[in-house]
């Protein structure tokens, strides 16, 4: 058993670091040239699989920086944050932090926030499915009871705050986007909402009041206190219209009375 551990330690270090290769070659059968060539296939596979996972999670970052630069980013990321999970859908969580800290990416100050958004989009794909919800059942409640309801967000929902309009950046870089390629950077900080009506993950830019309401709801607030949070930022926030829209688009998937 100790022998197996030792062989795997040598194999593994040589996969991650060329300088460890010489120490690993002796554990295999064949000529040094043949082993080096064949070992390269394993190194190539493990790198290609990690790169594919990063490409799958961050298609918009890839579009913004271009394929060549992105390949370089992925290679740097792989060596600083090697994969630790057998499920490659879990790989890439630290990409935004890596970008924020990576000097060659600083020319695009919004890139790390786009990556942060893309990770939430990626995770939203695998989030749990909510149980069906019929808002009609709430009609029997008194207005006082209704204000005490707690809105439940779809498990895929996330709200991101950024100094940049990341939801717009995300939208104009979609393959299917056919509108004008225009992003308004003059609006200042913006909120992006990640949501998943049915099985397709979507992103929308939302206002301060909407973001305050949904963030409060994510924290478990009642309608009354989430509404107060929204109104404090925008006195014209219309609860009824927003609720309808959010229930329709599966942002809010339940309204629960305490203890019920």
């Amino acid at each position: 058993m100790r022998e197996l551990a030792a062989l795997q330690a040598r194999f593994g270090s040589a996969l991650d670091a060329h300088e460890a290769e010489a120490g690993a070659l002796q554990i295999f059968i064949g000529s040094a040239a043949q082993i080096r060539n064949r070992f390269g296939i394993y190194r190539g596979n493990t790198r290609a699989n990690a790169t594919k996972a990063i490409e799958a999670a961050y298609p918009i970052v890839a579009k913004i920086v271009g394929a060549e630069f992105f390949t370089g980013l992925a290679a740097q990321y792989r060596s600083r944050f090697p994969s630790q999970d057998g499920n490659l859908n879990e790989y890439g969580e630290s990409f935004a932090a890596f970008l924020a800290d990576f000097p060659p990416a600083r020319e695009l100050p919004y890139l790390a926030d786009v990556a942060r958004l893309e990770w939430q989009v990626h995770r939203a794909h695998y989030a749990a499915d909510p149980a069906p919800f019929d808002p009609a059942q709430l009609a029997a409640l008194s207005p006082e009871q209704q204000l005490r309801l707690r809105p439940w967000l779809h498990p895929a929902c996330r709200i991101l705050h950024s100094a940049y309009p990341v939801a717009q950046l995300w939208e104009v870089h979609q393959d299917a986007f056919s509108g004008e390629f225009e992003v308004d950077f003059s609006g200042g900080p913006a909120h992006a909402l990640v949501f998943r009506p049915q099985f397709r993950v979507e992103v929308a830019q939302i206002g301060d009041a909407e973001a305050a309401f949904l963030a409060a709801a994510l924290d478990g607030a009642t309608l009354e206190s989430a509404l107060a949070a929204a109104l404090s930022l925008d006195a014209s926030f219309a609860l009824g219209r927003s609720l309808n829209e959010w229930v329709e688009s599966s942002v809010i998937v339940d309204l629960k009375l305490d203890g019920g």
């Binding site: 058993m1 022998e3 795997q8 295999f28 493990t46 794909h125 695998y126 989030a127 499915d129 099985f199």
Partner: protein
């Protein structure tokens, strides 16, 4: 509970199946393509919910489904990761698959995971380890699993026994079944220079629960197992030999890179069905 006494559901899997990949989801949601059964990579369905699981739960109502894991790393000296096994258990509970399988390989080293099917040294010590890990998995899942021979490009000096003797011993000692990948057997016979038909003779007929067929590519004197093309004639011939030796075993067409239209997979499956029927007849 002895996993061998668990309800054996592999009887539900017959004929030739295909690997279900995302590129063909739509066709399986909209219609019912003529595949005998379907196999998916377990890890792609480890999420809490979402589209992939939705599709899998839909197709399991119409086809026997096999969960084929690629990352449990049964050969790691570190042991099997509890979290990964727990996710597999949750998925098995959710899908109630006809078959569950994994590979004879390793990939995890400490906190690191290489996300590849790395070869093992075929030693007595490694065998003890893999037997213990397969036993743990079967006890956790409360069912028998199948273990697949992987393709490899390197052989360890430390190896003491041939790959297929190792696999046969593993099956005997842990009670697991064997998933015989005929393409991998062929690839290894070329890469390492041995007679694949002789290796087949080491395989206990009663242990084989599934056969895999796939394409590979050539790079100089080396064959690369990339699952990106049709099954080559030499692998079909070896499949015929396996059918003669093993009797009726469910087979699967795997295609993972440069995924073609579904019709081509079904066409490969039809070829496999024709060849196996000719051998049983």
């Amino acid at each position: 509970m002895n996993p061998l006494n668990a309800p054996e559901s592999s009887a539900a899997v017959r004929g030739v199946g295909i690997g279900l990949r995302a590129a063909h989801y739509r066709e399986f949601l909209d219609s019912r393509p003529r595949a005998d059964w379907l196999e998916v990579h377990s890890e792609n369905y480890f999420g809490d919910g979402g589209y992939d699981l939705h599709v899998l739960e839909h197709v399991r109502g119409h086809y026997p489904v096999s969960l084929h894991g690629v990352a449990l790393s049964l050969g790691s000296a570190n042991g099997v990761r509890e979290g990964h096994l727990a996710k597999l258990k949750r998925l098995v509970h959710r899908i109630e698959p006809a078959l569950v399988s994994e590979h004879l390989c390793w990939a995890a080293l400490g906190a690191r995971h290489f996300n590849d099917l790395l070869p093992l040294p075929y030693t007595r010590g490694a065998l003890d380890q893999v037997v213990a890990h397969v036993t743990l998995v079967q006890e956790t899942l409360r069912r028998r699993i199948l273990i697949e021979n992987v393709s490899s490009y390197l052989q360890f000096r430390a190896s003491e026994i041939p790959e297929f003797v190792f696999l046969a011993e593993l099956a005997k000692r842990s009670g697991c079944g064997i998933l015989l990948d005929v393409n991998n057997l062929f690839v290894n016979s070329v890469n390492h220079g041995f007679d694949p038909i002789e290796a087949l003779r080491e395989i206990p007929r009663e242990a084989v629960g599934e056969i895999h067929l796939a394409g590979h590519s050539a790079a100089g004197d080396l064959l690369i197992d990339d699952h990106g093309s049709r099954v080559v004639p030499q692998v079909w011939s070896l499949y015929e030999v396996a059918c003669r030796q093993l009797g009726q075993v469910p087979a699967l067409i795997e295609w993972d890179t440069a995924i073609p239209p579904l019709d081509m997979l079904l066409d490969e499956a039809a070829t496999a069905a024709r060849l196996s029927q000719a051998e049983y007849a």
